[in-house]
């Protein structure tokens, strides 16, 4: 059983990948970093090849593990449990390409399965950039609902299927053509074979997300919009351990009364940072707060990364 799980959240561009690596470096040797981010950003930072299987690597001279969630790998696992025909496989990968929510769900299912099977002293979870700010939180909280109440259940060809729903599906043929609807229904039939597995994964994730052993770290910068906090508030209120990280903090610069453009830029950011910190204080209880000072970065070298880890 894993000792501790740390989720790292944040909008695009706040330095989430950098912070996830930094957290890992602070965790015991042999800990695992799982990235749900479809971009290979974190692998670029670490100068290693993107890997869907657990891969050992060295960070600041210590051994750790890393893996990415991967739609192809999950499909292989599902296919082993219940083989899919060529049409279903095609539909699956079209959904992976075309539907953000579906990609999120697949990543979460893989995450839940990995977390329940693996044993590491600590697991850091690097989440993808939010989709419309709420993003993955919403996906997590509706994951169970998705597989219990959604069209997946409703559209299955069973004797209990609601006649009205069947009519809607038939009418869909007018818009989509017979082939497309038959493919969609074929896919849903196949998906239904794995429903119990998905429901189990959703249950594991739901339980683990708000366990006392799970920490949620939200990475912010002075430029994070104020309304962002209200969008994530209900999720974090359920969490036992919450940590806010102010990355690129600028409050250590002395620029009062100065009028050049750089000082003006920093003054604006200091104001925003102060407002954000006050907002956190008034909106949340029982949290940790950490600042990482702004550091000029840019070459994405390992040297630079090691420097960031040790600030």
């Amino acid at each position: 059983m894993n000792e501790q799980v740390n989720f790292i959240w944040g909008a695009g561009g706040v330095g989430k990948s950098h912070y996830a690596v930094r957290r890992l470096a602070q965790a015991p040797e042999g800990s695992l970093l799982i990235t749900l981010d479809p971009s290979p950003r974190i692998f670029h930072l670490l100068h290693i090849e993107k890997a869907a299987e657990v891969t050992p690597f060295q960070l600041a001279g210590r051994p750790y593990f890393i893996k990415a969630t991967d739609a192809d790998l999950l499909f292989e696992r599902l296919n082993q449990a219940a083989p899919a025909n060529a049409q279903v496989k095609k539909y699956y990968f079209q959904l992976v390409q075309g539907l953000q929510e579906f990609r999120d769900y697949l990543a979460l299912i893989q995450l839940a399965e990995d977390l329940s099977q693996q044993n590491y002293p600590c697991i850091i979870v690097d989440t993808p950039p939010f989709h419309e700010a709420v993003g993955l939180h919403h996906s997590i909280s509706t994951l169970r609902e998705f597989f219990e109440k959604s069209v997946v259940q409703l559209a299955v060809r069973s004797s209990f299927m609601n006649m009205g729903v069947r009519k809607v599906i038939e009418v869909s043929r007018l818009f989509m053509g017979k082939r497309a609807v038959d493919e969609a229904l074929g896919f849903l039939d196949w998906l239904h074979l794995h429903l119990e597995r998905f429901q189990k994964a959703a249950g594991i994730l739901d339980e683990m997300l708000f366990s006392p052993k799970t920490t949620h770290s939200m990475v912010l910068t002075p430029e994070t919009p104020q309304n962002y906090l209200s969008e994530v508030k209900s999720f974090f209120e359920r969490s036992s351990q919450v940590r806010f990280i102010m990355n690129r903090s600028v409050d250590h610069y002395h620029v009062e009364g100065k009028t050049d453009s750089l000082s003006h830029e920093i003054q604006q950011m200091q104001k925003q940072q102060k407002n954000l910190e006050e907002n956190i204080q008034s909106s949340f209880q029982d949290y940790q707060f950490k600042k990482i000072p702004f550091v000029l970065m840019g070459d994405d070298s390992l040297e630079e990364l090691n420097k960031f880890i040790s600030i």
Partner: protein, 247 residues
């Protein structure tokens, strides 16, 4: 006569909303479209008068789509409220994107339109939705929509993609990737590259503590190295509200 449709994209946090506003200001009689509510907030922040904005919801998209088949407005609007139908649209790959593109194209039949668009991953889904629909649907109304959109994307200067980036490695890398992906699908489409928040060196009399001086002088140099191989159409300097044509 039709007008150009401008779709603005880029990594999260690069300044798509601000650029959308500045671009709309440049284009005569342009209007704006967004999925969220950021345009008004941003226009207030930078002191720009905001042109008319189209807010488009899934229900709106579905209602218009159903009108194409049912042909009775009241029935189409009623059916569009159905959560089941909305779920079907959400669950079908690329369907929502297809309907969104159709809506934007329709609006740009009457005015130039600037869309404060999705971040890069979702822009790809948007552009791919046309080809996906053409491969999935042999017949039917959706196939017809996909074919019309395909024609629009092939028509010179009808669709413009604007990719915004910051002078930072991850944003630049993402810009390069999406540029390539879009060109792979539509090789002749017009793509504009925009650099936001470019920093300029202070003048020689800049008098600050060593740490700030270092930041002031080194940051623009670092940025210049990172962007050296990119061919930007426009630049927005840090704190600026003007689009500067890149030399």
């Amino acid at each position: 006569m039709t007008y150009p449709l401008h779709i603005v994209t880029g990594k999260g946090g690069v300044g798509k909303t601000r650029y959308s506003l500045l671009l709309a200001r440049e284009i005569e009689s342009a209007q704006l479209s967004e999925r969220g509510q950021q345009l008004i907030l941003e226009s207030q922040k930078i002191g720009l008068v905001c042109p008319p904005i189209y807010h488009i919801s899934l229900q709106d998209l579905l209602a218009e789509f159903l009108m194409g088949v049912i042909k009775v407005q009241s029935l189409a609007s009623f059916a569009a409220k159905s959560k089941l139908l909305q779920n079907i649209v959400r669950t079908a790959p690329n369907l929502e994107e297809l309907l969104l593109l159709k809506k934007w194209k329709l609006i740009s039949n009457k005015h130039p339109l600037v869309v404060d668009g999705p971040s890069t991953g979702n822009l790809i889904a948007l552009v791919e939705s046309i080809k996906t629909a053409q491969s999935m649907f042999d017949t039917g109304f959706l196939r017809h929509i996909a074919d019309e959109l395909d024609q629009a994307f092939l028509e010179p200067h009808r669709i413009h993609i604007h990719i915004v980036s910051l002078p930072e490695n991850s944003a630049l890398e993402e810009m390069k990737q999406i540029h390539q992906r879009v060109k792979d699908i539509y090789p002749d489409i017009k793509i504009h590259l925009i650099l936001n928040r470019r920093h300029q060196k202070p003048d020689a009399h800049f008098d600050q503590d060593p740490e700030l001086s270092r930041l002031a002088f080194e940051r623009p140099e670092l940025e210049a190295k990172r962007i050296a191989t990119y061919d930007f159409d426009s630049v927005i300097f840090e704190g600026g509200t003007q689009l500067e044509r890149a030399s």
